[in-house]
């Protein structure tokens, strides 16, 4: 019965992906993509990866969907009704290439080595020294901490890239366009009710991440989406990017990570080596800083480059 469920979900996912790629209007396509993202989160639960499912639910459908949607809405005016597709020969070549890649990957899936190689035993053996109960958080924060640190750097670089697209006279101003919303409307009412609730959920997801599925990424993203909700309903405006506290929040996560890493180099066995007695509190401190950074960066990446001056014009 479980297999029927999996097969049904796989078919739905494939259909939604095809719809998202073939729909004529970009707006419809993005709607399909959001539905696709929500369903992928279910697939991750079926693969016993609740940590990934949480991240996918928050990033894959929610934030990426809202990002593409904003772009589709702004490009809609300039989008012509017909597009010039590549010639049939090119399309056939692309189809052939894509089919070959898909077939190759399918063959790899069907002939994966038996028994499956795994590092789960190593992770389980190392986990007690971190004081964590969730192996995925252990990998993210301790065993492969370098990856996570570099990923934070990527976030900062992407932020720099997005901001550098601002027009010269708008530098330091507020990202995105001003949203129109009735302060007494149903949307503002909903936002006032849901944002506190969502913040609690975001912090909860972050907090249980030490021992159960969750963590800084999923938690921070939920917090980011609540901030964006406040922006969309005009309960809060986007902050001007010249604000110092904002820039500090953007770098505090990777900066703390780097500091701890260098301290590990000086006092411990190497870069990012935590002293075992303090591993848990150090990891927790990094995670707090990272949740803040993830929340602020994700929200501002979605808000885009500054389009208005700091006084909101």
């Amino acid at each position: 019965m479980a297999l029927v469920l999996d097969a049904g979900m796989a078919l739905c996912l494939l259909a939604l992906a095809l719809f998202a790629l073939t729909a004529r209007a970009s707006y419809s396509a993005v709607a399909g993509f959001v539905a696709y993202g929500l369903l992928v989160a279910l697939a991750w639960v079926r693969l016993a990866a609740a940590d990934v499912a949480l991240t996918e639910a928050a990033i894959g459908s929610g934030l990426t969907g809202a990002l593409l949607l904003g772009a589709a809405a702004r490009l809609r005016a300039s989008e012509s009704t017909t597009v010039a597709w590549p010639s049939a020969a090119r399309r056939a070549a692309a189809a052939l290439l894509s089919t070959l890649v898909a077939l190759g990957l399918a063959a790899v899936v069907l002939w994966l080595p038996q028994p499956a190689p795994t590092l789960a035993h190593e992770a389980a053996a190392g986990l007690p020294s971190t004081g964590l109960g969730n192996p995925v958080t252990g990998v993210l924060m301790a065993f492969r901490g370098v990856d996570t640190f570099l990923e934070k750097v990527v976030l900062v670089l992407a932020m720099v890239g997005v901001w550098s697209l601002a027009a010269d006279e708008r530098w330091g101003g507020r990202p995105g366009l001003r949203h129109e919303a009735d302060p007494n409307g149903v949307l503002a009412f909903f936002a006032r009710l849901v944002i506190p609730l969502g913040l609690v959920i975001g912090l909860y997801v972050f907090w249980v991440g030490a021992d159960h599925p969750g963590g800084a990424f999923a938690g921070g993203t939920v917090v980011a989406s609540m901030w964006l909700l406040a922006m969309m309903t005009r309960l809060a405006d986007t902050p001007p990017i010249e604000r110092r506290a904002l820039r500090l929040a953007l770098v505090v996560g990777p900066a703390l990570f780097l500091l701890v890493g260098l301290a590990g180099l000086a006092f411990g066995g190497g870069f990012l080596a935590y002293p075992e007695a303090y591993a848990k509190p150090i990891i927790l401190a990094i995670e707090v800083a990272m949740t803040l950074t993830v929340a602020v960066t994700m929200a501002l990446l979605l808000a885009g480059p500054p389009l208005r001056s700091a006084d909101g014009q």
Partner: protein, 109 residues
């Protein structure tokens, strides 16, 4: 047929579909969307590898799972940068559609 085989084959198909859209679709926004579909297919393949490696009381190998989480965040950052570039291009009056039919073909057709 097991759960991992089903999602593995799905991942392979999604990579193929996403790749085709990425190459063929003339609209950059849709290319970005295809890129995300392709990415989620790759992530699913990682998830399958992780699930098969279930051991030591964990539901899956935590290492590929952690990679996927990292990958999702990076994919979002790349998508945000691509969208910002596209919108800026539209703002300064550049083309938001890549129509580059080969010269031999008749545009009017």
């Amino acid at each position: 047929m097991t759960t991992t085989t089903i999602y593995g084959l799905l991942g392979a198909l999604l990579v193929g579909v996403g790749l085709y859209g990425l190459i063929v679709h003339p609209r950059p926004l849709r290319k970005i969307l295809s890129f995300n579909v392709l990415g989620s297919g790759v992530f699913l393949l990682f998830g399958v590898v992780a699930r098969r490696g279930a051991a030591a009381g964990f539901g899956g190998d935590p290492i590929p799972q952690a990679f996927v989480i990292t990958g999702m965040v990076v994919a979002f950052a790349a998508t945000a940068l691509a969208v910002a570039l596209l919108l800026r291009l539209a703002e300064v009056g550049g083309a938001t559609e890549l129509d580059e039919p080969p010269p031999a073909e008749d545009r009017a057709a």
